[in-house]
C-alpha cells in the first residue's frame, strides 16, 4: 500500500497507525516519547493509534519535539 509519510511516498504493509509507527520508529531510531502523528491533516491521539486504520494514498505526518527557541 502506498502512503505519503512526511511528504515522501513510502510502501507500507502496516494496517493501522500503531503498526506504521512501530516500523518507522525502528527504521528511524525514534524515541518513544515526544512524538505526534497526524493522518490526512488531523492529529491522531496515541491512545487511538491502534484503532486508526490506514488506506492507500493516506498522508501521514510523524513529528517529534526537538530543540527550539
Amino acid at each position: 500500500m502506498k502512503l505519503i509519510v512526511n511528504g515522501e511516498p513510502r510502501e507500507h504493509e502496516a494496517g493501522n497507525v500503531a503498526a506504521l509507527f512501530a516500523i518507522e520508529a525502528e527504521e528511524r531510531a525514534l524515541p518513544a516519547e515526544g512524538i505526534a502523528i497526524a493522518l490526512n491533516g488531523r492529529v491522531v491521539r496515541r491512545t487511538d493509534w491502534a484503532e486508526t486504520p490506514l488506506s492507500e494514498g493516506d498522508r501521514i505526518e510523524i513529528v517529534r519535539a526537538m530543540q527550539g527557541g
Partner: protein
C-alpha cells in the same frame, strides 16, 4: 547581615510569576536550540534556573536520530513553539501536534510574516491565537512590541503576551524601551520579552521596564561560554525584577550630593 539576606530571599520567593494559574519562581524562560552540544544545553538550562524551556516540533527524518534531547530536561515545563510557520493554519496544526507530542496545552504561537526579518505576521497570528484559545490552549504569542496588538491578544484570552525586544537572534536588546514600558504598564496579562536580548544588561533593562519575564535563547546558546551566560541571565532577570519592584530614582540633570551638607571640615 545573614538575617537580612534571608529576608531578601524570602521576599523574592514571594514574587512568583503566574501564568494561567501556574506559579513559577523563575522569570527566565530559556530556549534549547543552537548550543554547541546537548550536554552544554542541559548544563546551561540548569545554570539558568529556568523552569520553562522552549521546544520546536519538526518532522522526523529518514536518517534517524541521536540521543533524545528531552531526557536531559525531565522535570522542566515545556513551552513548544510554532516557529517557522507562516500561516495561521500551519501554526494551528503545529500546536495540535505539540500538544500531543509533549502533553501540554502551553504553546508559544509564532507566525512569521517575513523570512528575512522574522517579523510576526499579526493578521495570521491573531487568527491562530483566536482559534487556539477557543480550543483550550494556553496561548503565549510572540508578537510585535505594539501596545494595541498586545491588548487585543490579551483581550482574546492569551495567557501572556511575548513582544519582541528586537529582531529574533539579533542581540540588539530592547529596541524600543518606551513601547515596552507602555505595554508592561497597560497589560492585564504577563509580558514576556521574547527575542533580541543580547547580553545580561539587555535582560536587566527589559525587567526594569516592567516585563514579567524574559525568554532567551541565542544570547545564551551562542555565547562563548553558554553555561556562564545562562548564570548571568539568571542574575540579570532577578536584578532587573528587584530594581523594578524597588522603584528607581528619577533622572535629574544636576548633581545631588549624597553625603550630609552640614559639619564639613575646614572653612
Amino acid at each position: 547581615m545573614a538575617h537580612h539576606d534571608t529576608n531578601l530571599a524570602a521576599q523574592a520567593g514571594d514574587d512568583l510569576l503566574e501564568i494561567a494559574g501556574q506559579k513559577l519562581a523563575s522569570r527566565l524562560f530559556i530556549g534549547t536550540a543552537g548550543y554547541p552540544s546537548q550536554g552544554i544545553m542541559a548544563d546551561s538550562v540548569r545554570a539558568s534556573g529556568a523552569e520553562v524551556v522552549t521546544a520546536s516540533i519538526r518532522r522526523v527524518s529518514l536518517q534517524g536520530h541521536g540521543s533524545d534531547t528531552f531526557q536531559k530536561l525531565k522535570g522542566k515545563r515545556f513551552l513548544p513553539n510554532t516557529a517557522g510557520c507562516e500561516t495561521a493554519r500551519d501554526a494551528i496544526m503545529t500546536a495540535e501536534l505539540a500538544r500531543e507530542a509533549l502533553d501540554t496545552t502551553w504553546i508559544k504561537v509564532e507566525v512569521i510574516g517575513n523570512r528575512e526579518t522574522l517579523y510576526p505576521d499579526v493578521v495570521e497570528l491573531m487568527e491562530a491565537c483566536r482559534h487556539l484559545v477557543d480550543d483550550g490552549f494556553t496561548v503565549l504569542p510572540y508578537c510585535n512590541d505594539d501596545p494595541v496588538i498586545c491588548e487585543r491578544l490579551a483581550d482574546m484570552g492569551c495567557a501572556a503576551v511575548m513582544p519582541m525586544g528586537s529582531l529574533i537572534g539579533s542581540g540588539m536588546g530592547v529596541a524600543n524601551p518606551a513601547n515596552l514600558e507602555l505595554i508592561c504598564r497597560r497589560s492585564p496579562v504577563p509580558v514576556i520579552v521574547d527575542a533580541g536580548i543580547g547580553t545580561a544588561s539587555d535582560a536587566v533593562i527589559a525587567m526594569e521596564l516592567g516585563a514579567a519575564a524574559c525568554l532567551i535563547n541565542t544570547a545564551v546558546a551562542k555565547a562563548d561560554d553558554p553555561v556562564r551566560m545562562a548564570a548571568a541571565m539568571r542574575h540579570a532577570v532577578e536584578a532587573g525584577r528587584l530594581a523594578h519592584l524597588a522603584g528607581r530614582i528619577p533622572r535629574r540633570g544636576r548633581a545631588e550630593p549624597s553625603s550630609p551638607q552640614l559639619g564639613l571640615v575646614g572653612s
